[in-house]
């Protein structure tokens, strides 16, 4: 079965809402995970530490620059993920719709590529891309 990652993306507002209603959300999330486990599709899940605890390594210049805090140019923050083993993308979507979430947050669904899959060869090598953006 293909694996899908349900990536939880919040905003500053939704993250604040999570903190204020944490107990309730934790309980419903626990129930949600239990449902996933009993349906045999749960692989793993994790929540990430507060965004202000993060470190960013920026490759836009000639050498990587390390700074504190979240990447500044997006309002959406990657807050945690579920990894599911399901039969289809539709099934992943169906589970994602049942996820307990606060208003304003989003769930992105991405298939996890298999071990034997490689990115298309026509794609520009990552090194080249960051170099050109560094000069621009």
């Amino acid at each position: 079965m293909p694996k899908y990652m349900l990536i939880m993306r919040g905003t500053d507002e939704s993250n604040a809402a999570v903190r204020s209603g944490f107990e309730e959300l934790a309980a419903s999330t626990y129930k949600y995970i239990e449902d996933l486990v009993k349906a045999g599709v749960f692989v793993e899940a994790a929540g990430l530490d507060e965004p202000d605890q993060s470190v960013v390594v920026d490759f836009s210049g000639q050498t990587p620059v390390v700074t504190d805090g979240p990447y500044g140019e997006t309002k959406e923050l990657f807050g945690g993920y579920f990894l599911l083993d399901v039969a289809s993308k539709q099934e992943a979507v169906e589970w994602a719709q049942r996820m307990p979430a606060v208003t304003g947050s989003k769930v992105e669904i991405r298939r996890v590529a298999g071990d034997d899959e490689r990115p298309p060869e026509t794609a520009e090598p990552a090194g080249t891309a960051s170099e050109s953006s560094g000069r621009g």
């Binding site: 079965m1 486990v37 009993k38 045999g40 083993d85 539709q90 979507v93 169906e94 071990d115």
Partner: protein, 404 residues
């Protein structure tokens, strides 16, 4: 909403719906039919107007269809009194009960009154939510055959008066063995197709894993459930490396171990730990053997002595000629082909595996290693003649041809 969405909701919800309806109507066959009717309606209705709660819609519709059927029967039997009772009472379904219900469904689908084929079909249909077509495709039998098996199974269960309830605790452990063996049959069908031209049918194997995970969540205190799950995860971990790009089989010794699914190995090892709380049963022992392979960097670096010991233990708790044959293979790796050939020759002398291609396959390999080339070729050719899987057969013929 299209058919794919309906299918996704059905896959997630079917067992709960059938279970709740069986509790509600007391009739397993009726519940299953009502649920199927609800899906058929969803396929027509949802593309026009998607419901707010797809699962709730399916449940409500299935319940209505079940009530219709009860009314029809009541009318037939001229028992209008039944109608006075409003059957829609279980609006609130207790989630704890639901878990028991799904477990009860598994036990009913794998009931000892049914033939093994019927158990497999019914489990995939009722607990797994697979369609008749999917089951037929998975087992390379015709749709009418699957339909007939399911219909007959439901009649058998009704005739036997199987109640919709969990077996008593004492009985449950015995019956659990039947449930595990059905899941294992489904898994092995997916991991080595018994016939046809494809070596693997991963969908079938993964469905078995999903069901085994469900069972492990519902019966967390049964070590063998975790043992079966570990065995399935560790075996499935090798799938990405088991076939070459052209679909031909790649033997364990030639597999690129970097392509094994390492998260599946981690999950399998975690399940194995849970399985070993009170010593290992037959599935746990097989999982431990799979774990020895999964954690070895190469065939040479594999702990073959440990595998021999595990096969000896397996031969004691679940003796079978296939276990003996596998022990012979491990002995060949641990102590050399001569000792292994003695085990294999004994199996031949006792005719313990009549008609199986596995025995001449192993015997052929051992003779190759002993340098007895012409005998080896004859054995491998015999194995190819007996082998029902085309992919495996071509590997055997190729090996035999190399001995010319």
């Amino acid at each position: 909403m299209g058919p794919a969405e309906v299918e996704a909701v059905w896959r997630i919800e079917s067992a709960r719906i059938v279970a709740a309806l069986t509790r509600f109507t007391g009739d397993f066959g009726l519940a299953e039919e009502a649920a199927q009717e609800a899906v058929a309606e969803a396929l027509v209705a949802w593309p026009l107007a998607a419901p707010d709660s797809p699962a709730g819609w399916l449940m409500a519709t299935a319940r209505r269809r079940a009530i219709d059927a009860i009314r029809r029967r009541a009318a037939l039997k001229d028992r209008h009194a039944l109608l006075a009772v409003d059957p829609v009472v279980n609006e609130d379904v207790d989630p704890d009960r639901i878990d028991d219900d799904i477990l009860a469904l598994m036990f009913i689908s794998c009931h000892p009154v049914l033939s093994p084929e019927a158990r497999v079909a019914l489990t995939l249909r009722v607990v797994g939510g697979l369609s008749t077509e999917e089951i037929a495709r998975a087992f390379l039998v015709s749709v009418p055959t699957v339909q007939a098996r399911i219909t007959r199974a439901k009649k058998t269960i009704a005739a036997a008066g199987v109640p919709f309830e969990l077996p008593a605790a004492g009985e449950r452990r015995d019956r659990l063995g039947g449930v595990l063996s059905v899941l294992y049959v489904i898994f092995t069908e997916g991991s080595t197709a018994t016939s046809g031209d494809r070596l693997l049918r991963p969908d079938v194997a993964y469905e078995a894993i999903r069901l085994a995970r469900t069972l492990a969540a519902l019966q967390p205190d049964e070590p063998e459930v975790h043992g079966l799950l570990a065995l399935c995860e560790l075996t499935a971990a090798r799938f990405p490396a088991r076939t070459a790009p052209d679909g031909s089989a790649v033997l364990l010794e030639d597999q690129d171990r970097r392509r094994w699914d390492h998260s599946a190995i981690r999950r399998g090892l975690a399940s194995l730990v849970k399985a070993s709380s009170r010593g290992l049963g037959p599935y746990g022992l097989q999982a431990a053997i799979a774990a020895a392979h999964a954690t070895a960097p190469s065939v040479e670096a594999t702990d073959w002595d440990r595998i021999v010991v595990l096969y000896e233990a397996l031969g004691r708790v679940a003796p079978s000629p296939v276990v003996e044959l596998n022990r012979a293979v491990a002995v060949a790796m641990a102590s050399g082909p001569a000792q292994a050939l003695a085990i294999v020759d004994e199996l031949v002398a006792l005719d313990r595996l009549p008609g199986s291609h596995l025995l001449p396959t192993v015997r052929g390999e051992l003779l190759v290693r002993l340098g007895r080339r012409s005998e080896a070729r004859a054995e491998l050719e015999l194995a190819a003649r007996l082998c029902p899987n085309q992919r495996e057969r071509s590997v055997l013929l190729h090996k035999a041809a190399e001995l010319e």
